[in-house]
């Protein structure tokens, strides 16, 4: 939401978007979907009624709402969920995504872990995020089945995962891979470490969520070594573009404190996820300019796939007719937590090339 607001504010400050022969200002209306597909569909109806030029959604409600938006020529931008079925340029021409895909993250995890020769126990929750991840990992490890000792599902609302972690341990695993909501990741780490199971623990993107560190703040040593996958924050152009975006973001909204300390300093979270919605608005404004109209419709949807912009981290963000994914699968990197801050790992080529970003104040 904040990325959207920041992008709109910057565009408006620069005079708005040139839509044909007039300049239009962008407005942002926040409608809470409450993680409900039905609510999401109702919100999209409301957005269409209000004449919205685009809808940003975390992804849960897109199955239910894309047709409503498509009928009105309104593009939808997914900025969190990575499920494969959400985006389909043929069937869902108005759905675009700027967020790491489950497929990209899972294949990068397989690519990273299989050469290590570890035996992996996979733990995922039953949320959309977790089940999607579980399915993607099954595909990613399909050619290396021997690397996986077991796959275990746990309720997303669970408050105790001891039985599941014990099963993972008894499977003979030498590594634990968790694809679940942050609270489940924290629970799994707590259970493993408190029972002196010292295997390396890996996580999908949720491993970098501040909640994991907050919930384990009583045992910082247990967080140490947690390796998670994330979309790169910096491009080949260096950290400059991201730092400029971050500076503007923190100037407008303040820093997001994690609530833990590292080396005596307060840990802050870089605005990584805000980057995606920010970039989507940049693409949208460029599409409006290209369409020559700020009125939603097929022309605007078409232009979404024809334009490209430089995103918050300096990467080029664009879609095309056959690919509505804004984050390239290869752009996933790995970071490891040390003393409550993360640093890119050194044993992965892409990650090793990335600079660390500031995480303390």
């Amino acid at each position: 939401m904040r990325g959207t607001q920041l992008a709109a504010a910057q565009i408006n400050a620069a005079g708005g978007v040139q839509a044909g022969n007039r300049r239009v200002r962008l407005g942002v209306r926040v409608l809470d979907s409450e993680a409900s597909p039905e609510r999401s569909a109702a919100n999209v109806r409301e957005a269409v009624r209000l004449g919205a030029v685009a809808v940003l959604d975390e992804g849960t409600g897109v199955d239910a709402s894309w047709q409503i938006a498509n009928a009105a020529g309104v593009p939808i931008g997914i900025v969190y969920q990575g499920g494969t079925s959400l985006v389909d340029p043929v069937k869902r021409p108005n759905v675009f995504r700027i967020a790491p895909t489950d497929r990209g993250v899972s294949f990068r995890l397989a690519e990273y872990l299989v050469p290590k020769g570890v035996k992996i126990a996979i733990l995922h929750d039953d949320s959309t995020y977790g089940t999607g991840g579980g399915a993607a990992l099954a595909q990613a490890f399909a050619r290396n089945r021997s690397s996986v000792t077991t796959t275990i599902a746990v309720a997303a609302s669970a408050t105790d995962v001891s039985a599941e972690v014990l099963r993972a341990r008894r499977s003979g695993a030498t590594a634990l891979l968790v694809w679940a909501r942050p609270s489940i990741v924290a629970l799994a780490i707590r259970e493993a470490r408190s029972t002196r199971w010292t295997v390396p623990i890996y996580a999908a993107t949720s491993g970098g969520d501040p909640i994991v560190r907050q919930q384990l703040s009583d045992h910082p040593d247990w967080v140490d070594g947690l390796t998670f996958a994330s979309s790169r924050l910096t491009s080949e152009k260096g950290p400059g573009p991201f730092n400029r975006f971050r500076s503007a973001y923190e100037k407008r909204f303040g820093v997001e404190k994690v609530g833990v300390r590292s080396g005596g300093k307060e840990v802050v979270q870089p605005p990584d996820e805000a980057m995606y919605s920010y970039d989507f608005v940049l693409v949208l404004s460029k599409a409006i300019e290209a369409a020559g109209s700020a009125t939603p419709g097929p022309a605007l949807v078409k232009q979404m796939a024809d334009v490209d912009v430089q995103g918050a981290n300096g990467d080029e963000r664009s879609f095309n007719e056959v690919n509505h994914e804004g984050v390239v699968d290869d752009d996933v990197f790995f970071a490891v937590l040390r003393d409550m801050v993360w640093i890119p790992v050194k044993d992965d080529a892409l990650s090793a090339s990335l600079p660390a970003v500031r995480q303390t104040i």
Partner: protein, 662 residues
């Protein structure tokens, strides 16, 4: 009733006109959703309000309807209408299974069991994400097959408001004009006092079962249409949360009130809006504030009587009538009373022997009184005759045919109907409706015919009404037919119980202390009624403490003491019986005299007093209050009696040995 029907018709007319004024698709979708929630709430009102079974499973039934429909449409390309029908059938089956399990249990456990069902449904949805879509639900999108019957289509854009409205209105009309009118009085009896309803022969369990099943099916229909309306079966929209919401809607509006769910829904929508305002002001999420506001409103209603908003807006309709306007006693047409016998009946509750080898015989067209001190087993005997208690030994014989073990409902169908000791007052129920419920005992199930409003059902309804009015006239209450029960005197309320029993056209009437609470004037009326019934040929068995009344109306009398018949005969015969005098007066001399006769050969068993326990002077009054186990330390007199019994192998001691520790 007419005024409320007018309000309902007006509301439906306004609802039908919505699309004329509202052209926004999103508002029509919301309006259709409101209609469907109203439908689900009205369905819940059938079980919770009318039948008194507080179901918290409506969200689960809605979930079954919604998911079945969505899965069939989205994944199997079914026609939405066919899919919705299958969804309703699945919900009905689930509701029938749940209803089968909970129809006999008490309301708090009904709530608990149905609440568990709602959770099971929610957990099942979460457990099979490959089928149910997990958190993303099952999106219907644009069904391939349209709603051809009405020439319109289910569209993700403009909603099919009229289609939904037509279905909702049809269900509402069927519910109100057919089912509630048909079963309303019986439902009122069931929820007000199930025991009294059973005694009158009203099939309580069957009605509860039907209400819960119908409620679940309507919930399933609402769920199916909600999914079609929203374009998605959403896990957050169904299950326990929806159950609670609908429960609150019915409670706030007023359960068992026609307009209750509508009022409740409006109130909840207003609360929702208010909560949004409060949440915005406080910077909180509306979802956090809404339950607090709803809870506060609910608590307020409960504090002020808990009858719901309908009662707040609608002045309590207690129709009073001028004193003494009951009317004359109009004799009923001659009936063929049946001969009823209780043969060697024995039953014990725990360690207490309530009845032992107890026999009575009531001839057709006579009034047979059962008298005896408190705790002598009179009411137990009456309950056994009426089927409410199953005896351990002995049999009940009707016209020479031994009756199988049965419940009050089956006995009522055979013509044996009982009234209770206590007065039952059904709030907001007219005297006529109260009596109409009694007819249920002899009416065949007409659910489907009632739904279809078959001419035979309408004709039957007129007949039922006439029978009820005749029954009211028979007890001299024709003039208060439209008065609500709470406006009647205690004596009239008891006469009303007799009228309800008469409405089921019994052959044997079992009356438990009908004169309790009667003044002298009213007692005269009761005497007239009982005499008229007997003279009309009805067999009347009456448990009564009022010996003056017994003297005047009873043809024969059985005297019970400590679970045994100690005397039987005409009033004059039993009045002189020393055992009876001993039982009633409790004098030592009499007591000892009776004891001495207990085991004397040649003395008839009916003259033998069991002499168990300690008795003092007996007072009039009902109940089993002083039925008790053999005291650990008996009085000198009773210990002497025990010794006598032990020495001679008397029955008192035999009983004690037969049921050690019971």
């Amino acid at each position: 009733m007419r005024r409320r029907d007018d309000v309902l018709a007006m509301a439906l007319a306004i609802g039908a006109a919505v699309p004329l004024f509202v052209h926004r698709g999103d508002l029509l979708t919301s309006a259709a959703k409101a209609l469907l929630l109203l439908l689900a709430a009205m369905g819940l009102n059938v079980a919770m309000g009318y039948a008194g079974s507080p179901s918290l499973g409506q969200g689960g039934f809605a979930a079954i309807g919604a998911y079945t429909t969505a899965i069939l449409v989205a994944q199997h390309r079914w026609d939405p209408v066919a899919a919705a029908i299958v969804g309703v059938v699945f919900s009905l089956v689930a509701a029938a299974v749940v209803a089968r399990g909970v129809a006999r249990i008490r309301p708090p456990f009904v709530a608990l069991a149905t609440w568990l069902f709602a959770w099971i449904a929610a957990l099942a949805i979460a457990a099979f994400p490959s089928l149910t879509g997990g958190e993303r639900g099952v999106s219907i999108g644009q069904p391939a097959v349209r709603f051809r019957a009405l020439g319109a289509g289910w569209r993700p854009g403009p909603p099919a408001y009229y289609e939904i409205a037509i279905v909702a209105v049809a269900i509402v009309l069927v519910l109100h004009t057919n089912l509630i009118r048909r079963y309303g009085p019986a439902f009122a009896a069931v929820r007000s006092d199930p025991a009294a309803a059973r005694a009158s022969g009203i099939p309580v369990d069957r009605l509860r079962f039907a209400a819960l099943a119908a409620s679940g099916a309507i919930g399933g229909l609402a769920g199916a249409l909600l999914a079609l309306n929203a374009g998605v079966a959403d896990p957050t929209s169904y299950g326990p949360l929806l159950s609670v919401k609908l429960f609150i809607v019915v409670l706030i509006g007023g359960s068992a009130r026609r307009l209750g769910p509508a009022m409740g829904l409006i109130a909840v929508l207003v609360i929702s809006r208010a909560a949004s305002g409060v949440a915005n002001a406080l910077g909180s999420a509306p979802a956090d504030i809404e339950p607090i506001v709803a809870g506060a409103v609910l608590a307020g209603l409960l504090l002020f009587g808990g009858d719901g908003l309908v009662d707040v807006f609608e002045r309590r309709r207690v129709t009073r009538r001028a004193a003494g306007a009951g009317g004359p006693i109009v004799p009923i047409a001659n009936v063929f009373g049946a001969a009823l016998k209780g043969r060697d009946i024995g039953v014990a509750f725990g360690g207490v022997v309530a009845l032992d080898d107890c026999s009575i015989a009531a001839a057709p067209g006579t009034c047979h009184a059962i008298v005896g001190p408190n705790g002598s087993g009179k009411t137990t005997l009456l309950r056994i005759l009426g089927g409410a208690v199953v005896p351990e030994r002995g049999a009940v014989v009707l016209d020479g045919r031994e009756l199988p073990e049965g419940d009050p409902v089956s006995r009522a169908r055979m013509g044996i109907v009982r009234t209770l000791q206590r007065t039952v007052v059904q709030q907001r129920t007219t005297a006529l409706d109260y009596v109409i419920a009694g007819v249920e005992a002899r009416r065949p199930p007409t659910f489907i015919r009632a739904v279809l409003s078959a001419p035979s059902v309408r004709r039957e309804h007129r007949d039922v009404s006439k029978r009820a009015r005749d029954a009211l006239a028979a007890v001299g209450l024709a003039g208060v037919a439209s008065a609500t029960m709470e406006s009647l005197t205690g004596a009239e309320q008891r006469l009303l119980q007799i009228a309800r029993a008469l409405a089921s056209t019994p052959r044997v009437l079992l009356l438990d202390e009908p004169s309790a609470g009667f003044g002298v004037d009213a007692e005269g009326r009761l005497r007239e009624v009982l005499a008229m019934l007997r003279n009309a040929g009805l067999t009347v068995v009456v448990v009564e403490h009022n010996l003056r009344l017994v003297r005047e109306i009873a043809d024969r009398v059985s005297v019970l003491d400590a679970g045994r018949v100690i005397a039987e005969g005409t009033v004059a015969e039993v009045a002189d019986d020393p055992a009876v005098r001993a039982a009633y007066l409790g004098g030592e001399a009499d007591r000892m005299r009776v004891r001495a006769t207990q085991n004397v050969p040649g003395v008839p068993p009916r003259a033998r007093g069991p002499l168990r326990g300690v008795r003092g002077q007996r007072s009039a009054g009902g109940g089993r209050g002083d039925r008790r186990r053999r005291p650990a330390r008996a009085s000198r007199t009773s210990r002497a009696a025990d010794r006598a019994g032990n020495a001679t192998g008397g029955r008192a001691d035999q009983r004690g040995r037969r049921r050690p520790g019971r």
